[in-house]
C-alpha cells in the first residue's frame, strides 16, 4: 500500500507558499489545513503521474474484469474487435507464433473433426436407408410425387422438429430490410419486398385490431411455417420457422435483437437507407438459424434396437434378394450352357476341347470341320446371347461318314444323278453319269480325306448306254429284196436312208463311250433253192447296200458279207418268214479304245 501521508513542513509541502498577513482567509486556511496540505499535494502528484495511475489500475484490473464478466457479456463484446484485430496483426507479422501455439491442439482437433464428420455420414447413411426402405419412406415418396416437392424436402419436413429457415432484420419505421440470412436449401423470395410487405401487414393488423404503438403482431402461422417477430425500438427481427419451435427459440431471438440494438445503436438511429453497416450483424442472425431433428427420423415410436437395425435388415433383405436373383440367373444360364455344349459335342465335325467361364462370359474352344454346322447359329435355339459367348474354333477334316460324303460331293462336283455315301473308309457312288465324270471321279476320289476306297459300280455310263441303244436300233433294220433279186426295191430306199443316218452317228457315240466301231452289212437268202445260188445272191445283195452306204459314209469302216440261208433271221414257217430272210441286215461291232479300268 501507499506510504502513510505524514504531515510535515518539509519536502513539497514546504514548498507551498505561506499566506501573507494581508490574506486573512488564506491564513485561516493555512492554520486549518496545514496538517493535511502535504497529503493533498501528494495525492495530486499521483493523479498527475500516468505511471502511478497505471500502477493503481493494474492492482485492481483482474478483479474488475472478473466482476464485470460475471455481470454480462459487454466486456467481451467490447474487447472482441480489439482482440480480433490484434490476432490478425499477430498472424500476419509472426505466423510461426500462432502455429507453434496451435500445434499441440491441431492434431486432436482434426481427428475429432474427421471422426465427427464420419459419424454424421454414417448417421445420414442409416437415415437414408431407413427412409428408402421403410413404409414411412415410401409414404414420403408418394407425398413428394403428389405434391411435386423434391423427396429431400419432404424428408426434411417430416424429420425436423423445427428449423429456422430465414431471419429478417427490418428497420421498424420504414420497413426496409437491414440484413437477411437463410438456411441452405430454403426457398427465398425477394427479401426486400418480403420485408416491406411484412411491415405493411403488421401495420395493417395493428390498425385493424387496435392497440398501442408498441403492440404489434409478434407471431403468425402459415401451413407448416411459423413466423416469430421480436420487436426492438428501432428494428424488428423476424424468424421464419419450419415445424414447431420451442419457447427457448423466442429467447434466442429476443436476445439477438437486444444485442443488435446494443451493438448498432448509432447505425439504427442514423439509418437513411444504407444497410451496409448491418452486414456486421449477419453472424448474430446466422446464430438464430437453429434446427432440431426428431429422434429416430420421425418414424413412429418403436423399440430403439428395432429402429436402429430396421434399415440394416431391409438392406440385408435386399442384398439376399439380389444374391438369390443372381444365383438363380447364374444356375439357369449354366444349364443352358451345358445343354449347348452337349449339342455341340453331338454335332459331326465339331470337337470341343475346352470350355469354361471367365469375366461373366462363357468360353469354348475346339476343332470344327468347315462343312460342320455353325456353332454360332446354334446359340439362339439354346437361348444364349452371342455377346455372352467367346468361341475359338480351329479347322480340321472330320472322318464322319456324312461329312466325308459331303466333302467328296464338293471335291468331285458330282452331278445330281449321282449319290455318294461313305462307310468305313469307302466312298460308294451310285446313279448315272457321263463317261468323262466317271473317269475323273476315279482319279480324284483317292485324294479326298477320309476316303480309303472308291466304288462306282453303282454308277451307269450314260454314253455307253446311248451307244448300245443306237446299235440295237440299227441292227433291227431290215432291207428287204424280191425273190432271186439283188436290186433295191423303191419301197426300201427310205429305210436305207434312215439306216445310213444312224450309221453316221455311231462313230461319235462310240468315241464318247471310249470305243471304236465298225459296221458289217450282212446279206441273206431264203431256204428255197440251193446254197450255191443263195450265197452269191446274198453277197450281191450286201454289196448292193454297201455300195449305197459307202457313197454317203466314206469315214465309217464298212464291210459286206453274204451268208446265204445259213443264218436265217427267223425260222421259215410261212412266206412272210421267207421274205424276212431275203434281206440285208447290219451288225455294229464295238471295240474298246483302251482296256477298261477295274472298279475298285
Amino acid at each position: 500500500m501507499d506510504e502513510p501521508v505524514k504531515p510535515d513542513n518539509g519536502g513539497q509541502a514546504a514548498e507551498a507558499p505561506y499566506p501573507s498577513p494581508e490574506d486573512p482567509l488564506g491564513q485561516l486556511r493555512g492554520l486549518l489545513l496545514a496538517a493535511d496540505h502535504g497529503q493533498v499535494v501528494k495525492l495530486q502528484e499521483r493523479l498527475d503521474d500516468p505511471r502511478s495511475r497505471a500502477e493503481d489500475v493494474s492492482r485492481v484490473l483482474t478483479e474488475a474484469i472478473e466482476i464485470r464478466t460475471r455481470e454480462d457479456r459487454s466486456l467481451t463484446d467490447s474487447l472482441l474487435p480489439t482482440v480480433e484485430e490484434a490476432i490478425g496483426i499477430s498472424v500476419r507479422r509472426h505466423p510461426e507464433v500462432l502455429v507453434d501455439g496451435l500445434f499441440p491442439v491441431m492434431g486432436p482437433a482434426i481427428r475429432k473433426s474427421i471422426a465427427s464428420t464420419l459419424a454424421d455420414m454414417l448417421e445420414s447413411l442409416n437415415q437414408t436407408l431407413g427412409q428408402s426402405f421403410s413404409r414411412q419412406g415410401l409414404k414420403w415418396r408418394l407425398e413428394a410425387w403428389r405434391t411435386g416437392k423434391p423427396f429431400s424436402e419432404v424428408v426434411l419436413l417430416r424429420t425436423l422438429l423445427y428449423r429456422v429457415e430465414q431471419v429478417f432484420l427490418i428497420h421498424r419505421k420504414t420497413g426496409l430490410l437491414l440484413a437477411h440470412v437463410s438456411a441452405g436449401g430454403s426457398g427465398v423470395q425477394d427479401a426486400d419486398m418480403v420485408s416491406g410487405m411484412l411491415t405493411a401487414i403488421r401495420d395493417f393488423v395493428r390498425d385493424s385490431f387496435g392497440g398501442a404503438e408498441t403492440d404489434a403482431l409478434d407471431a403468425f402461422r402459415v401451413g407448416e411455417r411459423t413466423v416469430w417477430i421480436e420487436q426492438g425500438p428501432e428494428a424488428i427481427l423476424a424468424g421464419v420457422i419450419q415445424g414447431n419451435p420451442p419457447r427457448e427459440l423466442r429467447t434466442v431471438l429476443a436476445e439477438t435483437i437486444e444485442k443488435i440494438h446494443r451493438d448498432q445503436a448509432r447505425a439504427l438511429e442514423d439509418f437513411e437507407g444504407d444497410a451496409e453497416p448491418f452486414q456486421a450483424c449477419r453472424g448474430d442472425l446466422e446464430a438464430c438459424l437453429k434446427s432440431q431433428r426428431q429422434p429416430g427420423g420421425g418414424s413412429a415410436p418403436r423399440s430403439k434396437g428395432a429402429r436402429r437395425y430396421r434399415p440394416l435388415f431391409a438392406a440385408l433383405a435386399l442384398l439376399l434378394a439380389a444374391v438369390g436373383f443372381w444365383a438363380f440367373s447364374t444356375v439357369s444360364r449354366n444349364r443352358k450352357w451345358e445343354a449347348y455344349l452337349e449339342r455341340l459335342a453331338a454335332q459331326p465335325g465339331i470337337v470341343v476341347t475346352a470350355s469354361g467361364r471367365r469375366g461373366g462370359k462363357f468360353l469354348v474352344t475346339g476343332l470344327r470341320d468347315p462343312l460342320a454346322a455353325d456353332p454360332a447359329a446354334m446359340l439362339a435355339p439354346a437361348k444364349l446371347r452371342r455377346e455372352d459367348v467367346v468361341a475359338s474354333w480351329k479347322p480340321y477334316h472330320a472322318l464322319d461318314g456324312e461329312l466325308v460324303a459331303a466333302r467328296a460331293r464338293s471335291v468331285l462336283a458330282a452331278p445330281q444323278t449321282v449319290s455318294l455315301r461313305a462307310e468305313n473308309g469307302a466312298l460308294l457312288a451310285a446313279g448315272s453319269a457321263s463317261r468323262r465324270w466317271i473317269e475323273e471321279a476315279r482319279k480324284l476320289a483317292r485324294a479326298i480325306p477320309g476316303v480309303a476306297r472308291y466304288d462306282d459300280r453303282g454308277v451307269a455310263d450314260t454314253d455307253r448306254r446311248k451307244l448300245d441303244l443306237a446299235r440295237e436300233k440299227l441292227e433291227a433294220t431290215r432291207i428287204l429284196f424280191a425273190r432271186g433279186s439283188s436290186e433295191l426295191a423303191p419301197s426300201e430306199t427310205g429305210k436305207l436312208d434312215i439306216a445310213a443316218r444312224e450309221i453316221a452317228d455311231l462313230p461319235a457315240l462310240a468315241a464318247a463311250a471310249g470305243r471304236q466301231i465298225r459296221v458289217e452289212v450282212v446279206g441273206r437268202g431264203d431256204s428255197e433253192g440251193t446254197e450255191d445260188l443263195n450265197v452269191p445272191l446274198s453277197r450281191r445283195r450286201a454289196e448292193r447296200v454297201l455300195g449305197v452306204l459307202r457313197a454317203n459314209l466314206p469315214d465309217v469302216p464298212l464291210t459286206a458279207t453274204g451268208v446265204g440261208s445259213a443264218q436265217p433271221l427267223v425260222p421259215e414257217r410261212s412266206e412272210e418268214d421267207r421274205q424276212l430272210n431275203r434281206s440285208v441286215s447290219f451288225r455294229a461291232v464295238v471295240n474298246d479304245l483302251q482296256p477298261p479300268e477295274t472298279p475298285r
Binding site: G175, M197, E272, D274, A275
Partner: protein, 165 residues
C-alpha cells in the same frame, strides 16, 4: 446499395397498378390491394453511379368509401401522387392526398404523375391546371402506363430529390 421507402398515392383507378405492373418488379398479387390495402414492389433506378432500390408501397386507390391508411406512409422518404388526365377530380384528390401525406410524415420529396398521356384527346385537365401546380412547386410529369412515356423520368426525379435530402 441505398434503399428508400416511397408510397404511391392516388384516387381509385388512375392507373397506379398499371404503372407498377409494367415498370417495377412485383412479387405479390394485386389481391393484396383489396385485402391489406397495400402492395410492396421494388424499382431499381440509377442516379449517377449510385444504384437506388425504391421499395414502392402501392396504396389502394382512395375513393369516397375507403381512405388510405396513413400508417403506411410512416417512414417514407418520398411519395408519388398519381392522377388521371382524363378525370379532373383525380387531380383534386391528389391535392387532398398530398396534404394528408404532409400532415402524416412532414415535408418529403414527391412527384406527380398525370397518367394516361396517350389519351390526350380525352383529357379533362388543361394546361392551366398543370401550370398552377407547377407554380406551387409540384414536379408534374405526363405519364403513360401504356407507352411508358414519362415514367422513368418521374421515378428518377424523385430519386434525385430524395438523395439530395
Amino acid at each position: 446499395m441505398i434503399q428508400k421507402k416511397i408510397c404511391m398515392l392516388g384516387a381509385f383507378a388512375v392507373g397506379k397498378t398499371s404503372l407498377v405492373s409494367r415498370f417495377v418488379k412485383s412479387l405479390f398479387s394485386d389481391k393484396y390491394h383489396s385485402t391489406v390495402g397495400v402492395k410492396v414492389d421494388k424499382k431499381t433506378v440509377a442516379v449517377g453511379q449510385e444504384q437506388l432500390d425504391l421499395l414502392l408501397w402501392d396504396l389502394y386507390g382512395e375513393d369516397e368509401f375507403q381512405k388510405i391508411r396513413t400508417s403506411y406512409l410512416r417512414g417514407s422518404a418520398g411519395y408519388v401522387l398519381v392522377a388521371d388526365g382524363t378525370r379532373r377530380e383525380t387531380l383534386d384528390r391528389a391535392v387532398i392526398l398530398q396534404n394528408r401525406a404532409e400532415e402524416a410524415i412532414g415535408k418529403v420529396p414527391f412527384v406527380l404523375m398525370v397518367n394516361k398521356a396517350d389519351l390526350t384527346d380525352k383529357w379533362e385537365l388543361d394546361a392551366d391546371a398543370l401550370e398552377e401546380l407547377a407554380g406551387r412547386g409540384w414536379p408534374a410529369f405526363k405519364t403513360s402506363a401504356k407507352t411508358g412515356a414519362g415514367v422513368e423520368e418521374a421515378f428518377l426525379t424523385l430519386a434525385r430529390k430524395m438523395l439530395a435530402g
